[in-house]
């Protein structure tokens, strides 16, 4: 029952672009960059205005609660900038995968827990007025404790990965910012000399 509901939800869920975009981005990014298009926006259903030279961030995803980002690919993207963009895309895809799966598991297990507890009490999922029957917070506490302890190891692994991604991206951002600043200074020096 719960599994069928999840499958149905998965069927109606828009095919997430980041997993496909990250594979197609590397091959298509060269061509896309020439055209000034953004490969990420393909599955997200939103296209940033063509004159915009910045990244765009969207509303939180239904499953992962994370906000997807459509990255801007400048026509003359340096190797460093490309590394930064790919690191951000990879982190985004990895976070999306983890949280979508995790939240889906939470919802599913919560439904199953409520169902089994209500059944044990001899109640139906929906009462006479059609309202969805819920358990009290104290009854749900057992589920929360159980869920947290089951997923602790998964979280520890994710924490390590997230911290690595975060530091790497921030460090690359620093390098790119420095490179751009030097480039701008060199440009100014050249103008002054001319």
């Amino acid at each position: 029952m719960a599994a069928a509901r999840v499958l149905r939800a998965g069927g109606c869920y828009r095919r997430h672009p980041l997993s496909s975009a990250s594979s197609s981005a590397s091959s298509g990014s060269g061509r896309a960059a020439e055209r000034g298009e953004r490969p990420d926006s393909v599955g997200l259903g939103f296209r940033p205005p063509p004159h915009s030279h910045s990244d765009w961030i969207g509303p939180p995803d239904k499953h992962s609660n994370l906000r997807p980002v459509i990255f801007y690919v400048p026509p003359e993207e340096s190797a460093l900038e490309r590394r930064l963009r790919e690191a951000r895309q990879e982190a985004q895809a990895s976070n999306q995968r983890f949280w979508a799966r995790h939240n889906r598991a939470f919802r599913q297990e919560k439904e199953e827990f409520i169902y089994s507890r209500l059944k044990a009490k001899g109640l139906e999922m929906r009462d006479e007025s059609g309202q969805k029957a819920t358990l009290s917070a104290e009854e749900m506490a057992d589920f929360y404790k159980d869920f947290l302890s089951k997923n602790l190891k998964k979280h520890l692994q994710y924490n390590r990965d997230w911290y690595k991604h975060n530091f790497r991206i921030t460090f690359l951002m620093g390098q790119v910012a420095l490179m751009r600043a030097l480039r701008w200074l060199r440009g100014r020096k050249r103008n002054v000399e001319q």
Binding site: D55, G58, P59, R67, K145
Partner: protein
């Protein structure tokens, strides 16, 4: 608990102190008055902050297991308006009631299959989205471009400015309670340095927690989560606050205070933040983080770590437990899903026991204050009612273990601490009183409460 009721006590007390000042015929009245007014107004600021917090948490706590949107009329909580737009499940519900030809009375639904059919019909309609809804979603996409007009607001939220203000007020209380003549420049430098250190610590904390904050209702509107600022800028801001802050404390105040400030930043960002997701010990570490600012205020004034500093730190340490444990009781679902190891989720009995234990410890610590010559004996007597009240609420929370008792305890903790610190300050043992004791003939102790002279 109305705003008026919680604001009245400190204002009345402040008025009483001013009257007392005038009647004692103090020698250096203007300076004392300015000093007293400053401390009292900082307590009032804290009360305004507490009332804001109450409004924020009342609306958040009302969510329970269902996602009810906040009332739009409350302009102060406007950052959370996005909740309404972003709740996808509500959209489906609206579509069912308006679009599909479903009998209005739910009681006619006998089997679950019919419900499933309606849900799938609504979902297929969802996929064939009309043009109006599409552009609405498009409007939710924001350009990640930093606007200078927005920057102060963004940085204020990044540094958790209201929490920083509370931290600075506890540090200034520590400074004011120190048994030394008051120096305004030292006081201002210590407060500024503590504030900058707190801003830095809070920014790094948010930098580390972006995906977790996205998944929790309380924190999903933070600047890094919304992409209003880049992680690089957040780190630079933290460095620009932390380094001058600690330098100011070390060079402008004294090295001990600077060391405490640096240690506190490290404890909060590198110990507490990662520990939140590993073990329940994070609560105790967090309590130490909260206890250090008043100690910093004291060491800024005296230059040494006395028993008085440790007592003040102890009071703040004990206060953290009823405050945080009661708050975390209502957030168990979010903590469980987000992967946070909190006592309220993993060891609920311990959670309530520790909260009660520390409420009672506050009574004991208040009684120790006169023994260490920090306050007169009036302090434990006057503070007994408020300490007993919070202990009573702690006991109710321990016994009932439900949402209403946890909320009562949490809201009580919000006004309990500022009030306790204010009473402590007014009961402070005057330095001059100790010196004058030999000069006074007949020992006319006209006032029970003495105000400290600068």
């Amino acid at each position: 608990m109305s705003a008026a009721r919680s604001c009245r006590p400190p204002r009345a007390l402040a008025g009483l102190f001013v009257w007392r000042l005038r009647s004692t015929g103090a020698r250096q009245m203007p300076c004392r008055f300015v000093h007293l007014y400053h401390v009292a107004s900082s307590k009032l600021i804290t009360f305004q902050y507490c009332n804001f917090l109450k409004r924020m948490y009342v609306t958040q706590c009302n969510k329970d297991l269902s996602q009810r949107a906040k009332p739009k009329s409350d302009s102060i909580v406007s950052p959370f308006h996005e909740l309404q737009q972003l709740d996808q499940e509500k959209k489906v519900v609206h579509k069912i009631s308006s679009a599909s030809p479903v009998p209005q009375s739910w009681s006619e639904m006998s089997s679950r299959n019919e419900l499933r059919k309606i849900k799938s019909a609504a979902e297929t309609e969802d996929s064939v989205v009309p043009g109006g809804a599409e552009s609405k979603e498009d409007r939710q996409w924001k350009e990640m471009k930093l606007r200078l007009d927005d920057l102060p607001g963004i940085l204020a939220r990044l540094s958790k400015i209201k929490l920083t203000a509370l931290v600075v007020s506890t540090a200034s209380t520590g400074f004011a309670m120190a048994p030394v003549p008051f120096e305004l420049t030292c006081f201002l430098l210590a407060s500024l340095g503590t504030g900058l250190a707190s801003c830095a610590a809070n920014s790094i904390n948010q930098f580390f927690e972006v995906p977790f904050d996205s998944n929790m209702n309380r924190t999903k509107n933070r600047p890094l989560v919304r992409g209003q600022i880049s992680p690089l800028l957040a780190v630079c801001f933290a460095a620009c606050c932390g380094i001058p802050g600690v330098a100011l404390l070390t060079l402008g105040v004294n090295p001990l205070t600077g060391a405490l400030g640096a240690f506190n930043i490290f404890l909060y960002t590198c110990c507490y933040t990662p520990l939140k997701r590993m073990s329940i010990a994070n609560t105790w570490v967090g309590a130490v983080v909260g206890a250090i600012p008043p100690i910093m205020g004291w060491t800024a004034a005296t230059g040494s770590l006395d028993a008085g500093a440790l007592l003040l730190g102890g009071i703040l340490y004990s206060w953290q437990f009823p405050h945080f444990n009661a708050l975390s009781w209502g957030l168990r679902e979010d903590y469980s899903r987000g992967g946070y190891c909190m006592m309220s989720v993993t060891h609920p009995g311990l959670c309530r026991r520790v909260a009660l234990r520390h409420c009672l410890a506050l009574i004991g610590l208040s009684a120790v204050a006169p023994v260490l010559n920090i306050t007169t004996w009036t302090f434990p007597i006057i503070s007994l009612p408020i300490n007993l009240y919070i202990s009573y609420l702690g006991f109710r929370f321990y016994r009932d273990a439900d949402r209403s008792s946890s909320r009562k305890l949490f809201f009580c903790s919000l006004w309990h601490l500022p009030l306790l610190l204010l009473v402590m300050f007014t009961c402070k043992k005057s330095v001059l009183e100790k010196e004058d004791k030999g000069e006074l003939r007949g020992g006319s102790h006209e006032m029970a409460m003495e105000i400290r002279l600068p």
